[in-house]
């Protein structure tokens, strides 16, 4: 080996040493850093758990009270206020956002009814869109209370021939459109079959579900002749920013897995004088909503002046949902 070569080896060894020593330094530095971090996190986490213990206790107390509450139908006004407040604060604890859950009861001298103009519906489905957003329906399973059926003209109301999942531009030539949803029957079979009385008809005619009393047996769904009910097969999911925070206990408050839900004539809106979301959203005016007990209401004019009909009238379910044509 020449002198030069030796030098080179020495040099490279030096460099190697440098590298390794640098590495050890880095490693130890990293070690120190992680130790510091762990300590820091430790401090942070202990402070956190001290902070959240009360909250957790409170939340579990609230959930406990929620679990043992009565059926909404037989609750006193005070109990209704309490459960609503519990649900509101549980939501706030979970998400940091506030919601408003109404427990407004039926208005005096009001019986809600709905009419649908088949000649006007164009199949635009703005109603379906509005309904899903208003009522916090599960986005994952694409739950929809309203179905719009596309039926070829000339075969009558043949729902078997109807296209329910149409993707064409609307209105399609030689077709008409008809919407169905829960019809809020005056004699609702869904109510009489429910083993837990989790579903009932309110004084203003709206058929509601107490989501906390529903055991998910789906009898009601089987008994409904109009495919009015929807079941949560999975945990319903609505992105937080899309949650409609203006809710009603018997309406669009957030549901859980394994419970039944359905159209409530947008109870959170209709009981405060507003139209259901579908009525407001329809650009063609095919959807009409109002008080059947007011002889001067538009809905009464339609019932008295137009040829109205209902689906499966012979069943005696007496839906409060009529159809008419121009």
């Amino acid at each position: 080996m020449s002198k030069e070569e030796n030098k080179n080896v020495e040099n490279s060894q030096n460099t190697w040493h440098q590298i390794t020593s640098e590495n050890t330094d880095r490693r130890s530095a990293l070690k120190k850093l992680t130790a510091g971090l762990i300590a820091g996190v430790g401090i942070a986490s202990t402070s956190c758990s001290v902070f959240s213990e009360d909250q957790e206790k409170e939340a579990s107390q609230l959930s406990w009270d929620e679990f043992f509450k009565k059926n909404y139908k037989i609750m006193s006004d005070e109990e209704r206020v309490q459960t609503v407040q519990r649900l509101e604060s549980l939501y706030e604890k979970k998400t940091g956002n506030t919601i408003n859950i109404s427990h407004q009861g039926p208005l005096d001298d009001v019986l809600f009814g709905y009419v649908f103009n088949i000649s006007k519906c164009q199949g635009y489905m703005d109603c379906v869109n509005a309904c899903v957003e208003e009522n916090n329906q599960d986005r994952d399973s694409e739950m929809k209370y309203i179905s719009i059926h596309q039926i070829e003209k000339g075969h009558g109301f043949n729902f078997e021939k109807a296209e329910d999942e149409f993707t064409n531009e609307v209105p399609l030539k030689n077709h008409f459109y008809i919407g169905t949803q829960c019809f809020h029957c005056e004699n609702p079979p869904c109510v009489s079959v429910c083993p837990t009385e989790a579903t009932w008809k309110e004084k203003d005619g709206i058929v509601v579900v107490d989501y906390d009393w529903c055991i998910g047996c789906r009898y009601c769904s089987a008994s409904c002749p109009y495919d009015g009910r929807r079941f949560n097969w999975g945990q319903p999911h609505v992105p937080e920013e899309e949650v409609n925070k203006n809710q009603h206990y018997l309406g669009n408050r957030l549901r859980k897995k394994g419970v039944m839900e359905k159209c409530t004539f947008c109870i959170q809106r209709s009981r405060s004088g507003q139209n259901p979301a579908c009525v407001d959203a329809c650009p063609t005016g095919a959807r009409k909503f109002g008080n059947l007990l007011d002889p001067k209401s538009e809905i009464r004019w339609i019932l008295e002046n137009k040829k109205v009909f209902r689906l499966k009238e012979d069943l005696g379910t007496e839906p409060k949902f009529w159809y008419y044509m121009d």
Binding site: L107, D109, V110, L111, G113, N117, Q122, G123, Y124, M125, D126, V128, N129, V132, E142, K144, I148, E165, F166, T167, E169, V170, P171, E186, S270, S272, G273, Q274, N275, V279, D280, C282, P283, T284, G285, K288, F289, G290, N291, L292, L293, D294, P295, S297, E298, I299, R300, W301, I302, N305, K306, E318, K320, Y324, D326
Partner: protein, 209 residues
């Protein structure tokens, strides 16, 4: 056989009794109409008024022998009303000049009946453009444009007054506030366009597109 009848009738009685005891305290009616007739009220006062729901929108009263209700005010929503602020000259006067360049209302395509039945002049008077006109050249205010439409569309007009045609503004409570014809129909092209549905199948629609 006798026994069979006995059992049957016993069963019936039991069924009947259990049925009647099952009934709610609520009175039963034979159908909606019986219930409506029994419970209806001539004047109902609601706590909420539709006027509370719509805010400060100015309203115009529509009144006939049978009904009276409100429609939203129109003129304030027309871009560049009064028309006379631009139209200082009447249409016949304008026509005598050889006008070149872009016309102000070029974007308006008349797609309403045929030109034999309906031209600009059918609704807009040539002399004063600040109001509309009837077939008999009577003045009609822009706020009452439904009167122009009603001349041809009499059955729609009748249904609109009654409530079968058209759309309520916001609430179902009193007083009734309804959209007027031009709130939903573009008077120059009143037919609703065909388009893809708004929701549902949106995923599929994206695929198609």
């Amino acid at each position: 056989m006798k026994n069979y009848f006995k059992i049957c009738s016993l069963f019936l009685i039991v069924a009947l009794v259990s049925c009647s005891s099952n009934q709610d305290k609520e009175q039963k009616y034979h159908g909606n109409f019986e219930k409506i007739k029994a419970l209806e009220k001539d004047s109902i006062e609601y706590e909420v008024k539709s006027t509370d729901l719509i805010g400060n929108t100015p309203l115009i009263l529509v009144e006939t022998k049978e009904v009276s209700f409100f429609i939203p005010e129109r003129k304030s929503k027309i871009q560049a009303y009064n028309c006379s602020e631009c139209h200082t000259k009447t249409i016949p006067e304008l026509k005598f000049k050889n006008l070149t360049g872009k016309k102000a209302h070029d974007s308006i395509k008349l797609n309403h009946a045929t030109l034999e039945e309906l031209t600009c002049n059918s609704c807009h008077p040539t002399q004063n453009l600040d109001h509309l006109k009837s077939n008999l050249n009577a003045k009609i205010d822009f706020n009452q444009s439904y009167k122009v439409c009603a001349q041809c569309h009499s059955s729609e007009y009748k249904d609109w007054l009654g409530g079968a045609h058209g759309k309520r503004v916001k609430g179902w409570v009193n007083p009734r506030i309804s959209h007027t014809c031009v709130d939903c129909h573009n008077p120059h092209s009143p037919k609703f366009e065909s388009r893809f549905p708004a929701k549902l199948n949106t995923k599929k629609i994206e695929e198609i597109r």
